[in-house]
């Protein structure tokens, strides 16, 4: 199975973030964290994780859900596991 390239992951992930936080101005980078997006609290994290899983047809482990430190880590997991 081919891996997704990181740019594709980034642009699709950006769309998910914009939907979930209803903010068209969001731009993601590897170092983006919950502190950078005002509405990203623990409750919205749930919606975000579910939406990302659906978009990339993959699942995070429970450890990953609570352990991801920034968007870069999230993109690495996605690129590793998502189906094209």
């Amino acid at each position: 199975m081919d891996k997704l390239d990181k740019n594709t992951v980034k642009s699709r992930l950006t769309e998910v973030f914009r939907d979930v936080f209803d903010d068209e101005d969001i731009e993601l980078s590897d170092s983006t964290t919950a502190d950078d997006i005002e509405a990203w609290d623990s409750l919205e994290h749930i919606t975000l994780i579910s939406a990302v899983e659906k978009e990339f047809k993959m699942r995070f482990t429970m450890k990953e859900v609570s352990g991801m430190k920034n968007v870069g880590e999230m993109m690495n997991i996605i690129a590793e596991r998502a189906k094209k």
Binding site: D22, S50, K54
Partner: protein, 594 residues
Amino acid sequence: MLPELSRPFDGDMIMQKKKKLLRLLKEKEQGAVPLKIAVLGGSTTSDIIKVLELFLRDRGIAPSFYESEYAQYWNDAVFGNKELDEFKPELVFIHTTSRNIEEKPRVGEDAQSVADKLEREYARYERMWTRLSEKYGCVIIQNNFELPSERLLGNREVGCAFGRIDYITRLNCRLYDYAQSHKNFYIHDINYLSAAYGLERWHELRHWHLYKYAMSVSAIPEFAYSLAGIVCSVMGRNKKVLALDLDNTLWGGVIGDDGQSGIEIGSETSEGQSYKRLQEYVKAHKELGILLTVCSKNDPENAIEGLNHPDAPLKPNDFACIKANWDEKWRNLDETARELNLLPESFVFLDDNPAEREIVRTQLPEVTVIGFDNPEECIRALDKCGFFEVTSLSADDAARGEMYRANAERAAAERQFATYGEFLQSLEMRAEIRDFDPVHIPRITQLTNKSNQFNLTTRRYTQTEMEQTAADPNYIRLCGRLTDKFGDNGIVSVVIGRKDGAALHMELWLMSCRVLKREMELAMLDTLVEECKKAGIEEIIGYYYPTKKNGMVAELYKQFGFAQTSSDENGNTTWRLETANYTPKTTAIKINGD
């Protein structure tokens, strides 16, 4: 209604876009009814509340919420807290699930000991309901218990004293017994919902362990839609009319081409059976007080021929109105609404043809259109839409179709008289106009919450508020029933005034549009003035608050002979009538057996 929130919806999409959907709903919101809802959760409720808000706003209810701290449902309900008290909930939703059951049977435990546990577990719940109901007089919605995700004993979880599914089933029955004997208490059937959704998908254990959601996050929209159905019904937002296409909707084939013997309906073929089943399901809606109408592109005589098929459960006289012609369907629906004195927003339209559905959607967006591709699917689509959710069933509901048919006879009779006055006299109308009787409170509340057009203040009441008003000596209340030689119209008008010294302030004045132009409003006024005089009231103060729908009564108080005393920039007007020199106005109705 937003297409994203209409069935069949994509639950994951709703979850993902819920922020945007809420913004869109708020942008176009007009005249929504406020409602204070307390959500007392035994697990996480955050997204449940957010999605519930979407579905409620989509149907014209603007909720505000109190949300209990995590799993504090019992403490909040039984001991209360300041914040909840100040919030004054009108509706409390207790979101508990099987995960909140504290007293569980042990393997091998004897029957008596399990029964004692069940009793203690149930008592915890009943204590909450009693307390909430006493304290807030609110509507209570309680989840029942869903089946668990695992079965340690396998099939032996039922039919065994210590079986867990056995236990949950019995506990649920206790909840149902309570619901049957208590008003303002409704079960949210998550046991059914989780089964229909698929129990394995419902119990997404990751979401429990990570976020303490008692169900999969993807199931939240299904859950919230179902819950919103109860709330909308309690608030009188149910749909009232089911408008039906004929060819390939109520039977297979085209009556104009195939003739009565050629259409598929009845027990002979599998296709005929499925249409028959659909007709039976549709017909059963009459018992709920739903009006059935036909909206079909057909020659009228062909439509009647199809409906008279000997094996068809639905007959022409099951319909309050039959429109079979070649006009645009949305025009026919609009005309049907006017003939029945109802708003297009109370219509649900069923049609197999996607093009016809789309035209109605765009031309008459107030009408809710349900799509389907075959009769089996049609029953499910109708069943899941939740627009006819039953929370109260009054005697008037079952008789409603009859009342509308009597109206058609009246319209025919009207044409035989030279003047309208003669026609009114010929109806031999009798009105019973009295203070509220406890048995009529459900109907009074129902009428109050769904009357939009002939309604001066559009004030809404929960059943509890109505009961409190009925018991309060500071109010003068009247409800009016109108009967004539064609039949009984049931309770059709409600008037509530608050006493303030020698003045009476009219908080509510409404009438069902099915008795428009029958002098019933004059009979109510005559009786009100009479009651005022008995109570020493010298002046009646009337209020008109304009909405999108109540333009027809903007001048009502003027027609009654009130003098306008004020108006503001929003079109709100105030009116005054002295009771001393009032002369009764009714000419064609006998009031209270006079």
